[in-house]
Subunit: 231 residues, 2 copies
């Protein structure tokens, strides 16, 4: 029997690595899609590549995306990445990249159409990233509705794109536990928004702190634990 | 009074040039957005630039988009552009670029968010391009629904993105007539999918034939009329 095909959006972070492991565990033939969108470091891209290799994907596409031209985020501009921010704040952080998941999913939709694939996995999370509008379930549903009519498949009505968000309701600790259960190689994953020289996590950005909290609560040691600059 | 701001998607073709003229005529302060997506020629990009200059836009962004990596279209791959195709066919032509308007609008959404702008103009047309799934009104409405919840604005609910499709129900002849009424400089527009050397329209691709038919029916002369290779 032919295996079902899936596109997995893979940033190289812990969440998308866990998503990849989940799709792999469900026996999908996987095409990973990674965006090179002017993140201020290449460590993420190396992690994505190593993870794609580890899970023996069918293809790994790195799609260059000049979001820097659009601007509007600390991740794609020269603005400073915030440190020791109040994580319980309801404010959308300046690391939010305008319309990022809309852009990512639209390119995934194009790839899915070319690969004749009905399933896309994305590691969005509505709990720890509650401040990001495009990580919410209602956003994902609206995109599925759009996808259903946006492509050839939408015209012929024979196929419908399913966007899988297995982590959407997980806490970071639950993600770490699920990753451990599925043997995600933690050392190959990368979270820090603002690494120090020599690819050392800063320990102070939102991503480092959520990761550290997740490992601590799940009771696992992080092989690439950050060493804060101002400890 | 401050002028309202709009993003206009500008390919350099007749339809998007007319769209730009319409937004200009409605007194919007305009940011044009052009995609360099591996079309097989640069003439379109030059046209877009010249049109942006002509209509004195506030900014003109050329966004590189590596759709060639995704493939799946005669416009972004080495497949031959079809000539003398039956234009009345209901089949989606191979010049269709997978999920193109979804990708284009998602990047427009990002730019709109950064420019704090509520209005996007796109020259889609459901009549002559009835075979393209992402030129249909229901697609545009689904994208508006998505946009309403995809961004910061969607979270604060203070703004809603309006996607203007002034040409969606126009025939090509009606577009030519509207363009003439608004003094669109026809000589600066470009339609051909497959120009001959020296930037000469081929006269045989769908785009050339629809353009020629539009000018003929509207009773205008096309200053860059094609000279078919096999006349």
């Amino acid at each position: 029997m032919t295996r079902q095909t899936a596109i997995v959006l893979l940033s190289g972070g812990l969440d998308s690595a866990t998503c990849l492991a989940i799709a792999h565990n469900q026996n999908y033939a996987i095409h990973t899609l990674t965006f090179d969108y002017g993140q201020r470091h290449g460590v993420e891209l190396q992690s994505a590549h190593a993870l794609a290799d580890h899970f023996q994907v069918v293809s790994h596409t790195v799609f260059p995306l000049a979001l820097r031209i659009i601007g509007g985020s600390a991740l794609t501009s020269s603005q400073k990445v915030p440190k020791q921010r109040d994580l319980s704040s309801n404010e959308i952080p300046i690391t939010y990249v305008p319309a990022r998941n809309t852009v990512f999913l639209s390119i995934a939709l194009a790839l899915a159409e070319v690969k004749q694939c009905n399933d896309v996995f994305i590691g969005v999370n509505a709990i720890d990233y509650s401040g990001y509008p495009d990580c919410r379930p209602e956003f994902i549903h609206a995109f599925e509705n759009l996808a259903a009519i946006a492509t050839r498949a939408g015209v012929s009505s024979s196929r419908k794109l399913n966007i899988h968000t297995p982590l959407i309701a997980f806490s970071k600790a639950e993600i770490v536990a699920e990753a451990a259960r599925l043997n995600v190689p933690f050392a190959l994953t990368w979270s820090c928004y603002d690494p120090q020289e020599g690819a050392i996590p800063c320990g102070e950005c939102d991503a480092c702190r959520l990761r550290a909290e997740g490992f601590a609560k799940a009771g696992f040691a992080d092989p690439i634990a950050a060493k804060p600059r101002h400890a």
